[in-house]
Symmetry: C2
Subunit: 140 residues, 2 copies
DNA sequence: CCTACATCCTCTAGCGACTAGAGGTGCAAG
DNA sequence: CTTGCACCTCTAGTCGCTAGAGGATGTAGG
């Protein structure tokens, strides 16, 4: 088998080189074998694992959640109830975050629209920040 | 004038006690005068400033942006162009983040719906994570 | 006045998930 | 053989706090 260097692994998985080493250091990725010159030599399976991690991170899963998802992947006979629960929890988080950001968006739009582009003492941006009661929503 | 303790200031502004000290340490809030026993003694203006900071943080502004907004508030004769620019930039960020989260939401929903609640080797959650090509959107 | 207790003080270290940099070694091409 | 990139380890920094240690101060009741 051909040796996959860390740079190659990074390029193929889309995870940065220092991040690969970081994942190894926290035990998310098994320590690969080393070449004579002490350089890491990865297997194709490591690339898949890194891609899995990267994808999960992009979806906003936390490292500990990914650790659980990975142990599930490692043992395909387990029930996928935990995977389902993790994904559902993440979905709920995302939905909550979207709602919250929509409220922020509305408030920021009011601030920006109200700005007369004059001096600060007439600026709605500063004014709204200073006085919470001017918020349309009591979201936060 | 009556002395406002840090606990009182925290309660009135909605900023936690250690956070008030932290804001002072990074120069976001001027160091208040001290009592005989070396305890901080705040002015009403400090409470307003803290409330301003808190509100801006809730809206997701970064500390450095808030620092700029505060210097604008301190000098009301300045043009509010920078305040406007900061708020606009934040609005753009929020809009981008919402778009991104909507895409995530869609993907998570597909994962969760596809889960047959059986074993991991038939689980759509794990499967989608392992294979990025199964994503409906190429958002990330 | 004494005691209990809450609140205050400073300082350091930790969180998550990396990222940056120093200082050194390995390796392949020209 | 030398150039130059990729690799190695290790430490420290990022952001915005938060937690805890260990001690001083302030207040209310007995």
């Amino acid at each position: 088998m051909k040796k996959i260097t860390i740079g190659e692994a990074a390029r193929r998985s889309g995870v940065k080189v220092p991040t690969v080493r970081y994942y190894e250091s926290i035990g998310l990725l098994a320590a690969p074998s080393r070449s004579e010159g002490n350089q890491r030599s990865f297997e194709p399976a490591d690339i898949s694992r890194l891609a899995f991690i990267r994808h999960a991170r992009e979806l906003g899963f936390e490292i500990e959640a990914i650790r659980t998802l990975l142990t599930l992947q490692d043992d395909p006979h387990q029930s996928c109830a935990s995977a389902d629960a993790i994904a559902k929890a993440r979905l709920a988080e995302v939905e909550q975050r979207i709602r919250s950001l929509m409220a922020l968006k509305a408030e920021l739009e009011i601030m920006v629209e109200g700005c007369g582009h004059g001096r600060v003492d007439q600026c709605r941006v500063i004014e709204v920040l200073a006085d919470h009661d001017q918020c349309t929503h009591s979201h936060h």
